[in-house]
């Protein structure tokens, strides 16, 4: 009988023979595993109800915008920059946040809540591989939603502005929207790593990105008179800003004349993020929250 300190036994078990089959397998490297995991995660997203939901929401938003523009025929439908500045610049930050909420907010918390994590974590795979694979899959699924939104608007633009009226700034704005998506998704997954219940993570991410940051920006810049360079909603104004031909929405700090008529109007100083500044803030958000998210997930216990 063996007890502590080290209990051990060397009794051989049942008959040998019949044994294990020789299965050739070389454990893939981390990058290879990330690609393999991403493929399965993305396939899971494509088949999930949330993918249909996301596409339905984007479709409904597109339909509403199409109907409103078609019915009211606003002045901007004759100006490509103003058209995309208003519709794309105004709508895509919301689509990005929605996609991050739907795909990112429960990406990690869901693994705990639904117990799918137990299936993955028993495999010879690093935690960072799981996190990165899930991030890339969520990013691709979100990007599909953003691309759908862009396609709806371009179709509208082709109708009102003609087939060739695609301003190059739309491409620039699209790239900035993708950077914003990376930042919001990384933040959503970081918050997801803090919880083991999807609903908490989803609620927190939705509240923060739909209300919280805008409120913070208003308080910081309006009451404290500080440039809110650390708030992501300050940075994301460049997405619409690069398309805007109205002084108030253009990137950077400048003075604009507002109004006119007999009174002569008045001047205001606007303090929008410049393009490099906005891009840097979004990239910083992405990097910091991605590192923090991985750090948290590395320490999360499947208890």
């Amino acid at each position: 009988m063996v007890a502590n300190p080290v209990a051990s036994s060397s009794v051989a078990a049942g008959p040998q023979g019949g044994g294990r089959t020789a299965i050739a397998a070389t454990l893939p490297g981390t990058l290879d595993q990330i690609v393999r995991l991403t493929r399965f995660q993305f396939r899971d997203y494509l088949r999930s109800r949330r993918f249909i939901l996301m596409f339905a929401i984007v479709g409904v938003i597109g339909l509403i915008l199409t109907s409103v523009v078609g019915y009211f025929r606003p002045a901007f439908i004759s100006d490509p920059l103003a058209f995309y500045g208003s519709l794309w610049g105004g709508g895509v930050p919301f689509v990005v946040v929605l996609a991050a909420v739907i795909y990112g907010a429960d990406a990690i918390a869901g693994e705990f809540q639904n117990k799918t994590g137990y299936f993955l974590m028993g495999l010879p795979i690093r935690r960072i591989t799981v996190y990165t694979g899930k991030f890339i899959a969520a990013f691709l699924a979100s990007l599909a939603a953003v691309a759908l939104f862009a396609a709806i608007l371009v179709a509208n633009g082709a109708y009102y502005l003609g087939g060739n009226a695609l301003p190059w700034q739309l491409g620039e704005s699209f790239i900035l929207a993708v950077v914003y998506l990376l930042a919001v998704l990384a933040a959503a997954m970081m918050f997801s790593s803090m919880f083991k219940t999807s609903s908490y993570a989803t609620l927190l991410v939705a509240l923060l990105f739909l209300i919280g940051f805008s409120l913070l920006q208003a308080v910081v810049s309006g009451l404290a008179n500080i440039t809110p360079w650390f708030v992501i909603t300050y940075a994301n104004t460049i997405i619409g800003g690069v398309l805007s031909n109205s002084c108030e929405n253009q990137p950077g700090m400048h003075t604009c004349k507002v109004g006119g008529g007999p009174g002569g109007g008045f001047s205001i100083t606007v303090n929008n993020a410049t393009i490099p500044e906005g891009a840097a803030i979004m990239i910083a958000y992405f990097l910091l929250t991605a590192v923090a998210g991985i750090f948290l997930f590395e320490r999360e216990e499947f208890s």
Binding site: M1, Y118, F119
Partner: protein, 316 residues
């Protein structure tokens, strides 16, 4: 080729003020099946989760094939098939796709997967469900897929946490058969359970854990011999309640009965001083002849159960 091994070195886990596992030192080496026994809350799953890096030790370290799980989970788990709790599988995947994911992440080739997946699915009796989505499966069916996933790479070490959980009696018997079959290979199976019959039926050795402490680890035959001292017990069931006086005057006076214990008004456990099959046969006819309403006569729990009860109660 070195034999598979698992080793815990001072493995300790605290959840706040609760000490879930207390300095577990355990070394298991060779091809065998070891049952990890203990009551609910003993620390079995906690230990297994630390062996798979799902939770982190407060102190100590776990090794699989002498590779530290805490330092290099990927390499440590490479030779290991794992089933902890009852994992859920992504509902949109079919069993085949879920196993493809497992296989691809483990580096199995397409050819190996094409050959292996139908085999393991057939082994867990899920072949006909191979291409149906997992989302609609029952808990028992999912558990079979989980077992298939653990078996897929034909691992050297199998860590199974209550593998028959969620299965119907037939499923439990089938899983035990599978585990018995797996013992033929050069494989170490470490299986937690609170089902004594399961452990004594399937395993060669047993480690008993209670309140986070390892009470013993040895072969089942050694445990039975040393702790239970070969004493056998018979459970007698009655059609009507039997009072203590009748028990004392009639039943307990029969030859070969060392002591008796009332389990409930209709059940009494007789502990025998001898214990040969012949003496039990004789006792059976004597009890029946007493006219006290004896309707069931069954050998009591195995020696392992005696040991389990004694040791766990002592620990409590």
């Amino acid at each position: 080729m070195t034999s598979p091994s698992i080793r815990a070195e001072g493995l300790t886990k605290r959840f706040g003020p609760t000490l879930a596992l207390d300095r577990l030192d355990l070394k298991i080496e060779g091809s065998k099946c070891v049952g990890f026994l203990g009551p609910n809350g003993a620390g079995k799953t906690t230990a297994l989760k630390m062996f798979t890096d799902m939770i982190f030790p407060t102190a100590g370290e776990a090794f699989l094939n002498e590779v530290s799980v805490q330092k290099d989970r990927k390499r440590a788990l490479a030779a290991c098939g794992v089933l902890i709790e009852t994992p859920e599988i992504y509902p949109s995947l079919t069993p085949t796709e879920a196993l493809q994911m497992v296989g691809k992440l483990r580096g199995l080739s397409d050819a190996a997967l094409a050959d292996r997946i139908p085999g393991v699915l057939a082994e867990v009796k899920m072949g006909e469900w191979a291409n149906k989505k997992v989302g609609k499966f029952s808990k028992g069916m999912k558990q079979r897929i989980n077992i298939a996933a653990a078996l897929l790479p034909d691992p050297e070490i199998l860590l199974l946490d209550e593998p028959t959980t969620g299965l119907d009696p037939r499923g439990m018997a089938e899983v035990r058969d599978i585990i018995r079959g797996l013992k033929r290979g050069q494989r170490l199976i470490f299986m937690s359970s609170h089902l004594l019959a399961e452990v004594s039926d399937v395993c060669d050795e047993v480690a008993l854990l209670n309140r986070g402490k390892l009470l013993f680890y040895d072969t089942i035959s050694n445990v039975s011999t040393q702790f239970a001292r070969g004493q056998r017990a018979i459970d007698v069931g009655f059609s009507r309640p039997i009072d203590d006086a009748t028990l004392g005057t009639k039943l307990a006076q029969l030859t070969g009965i060392a002591s008796w214990e009332r389990m409930d008004p209709l059940r009494v456990r007789l502990k025998l001083s001898g214990g040969t099959d012949g003496s039990i046969e004789r006792l059976f006819s004597e009890v029946a002849g007493l006219g006290v309403g004896a309707v069931r006569f069954q050998e009591s729990a195995s020696a392992l159960e005696e040991v389990y009860m004694t040791q766990v109660e002592r620990g409590d």
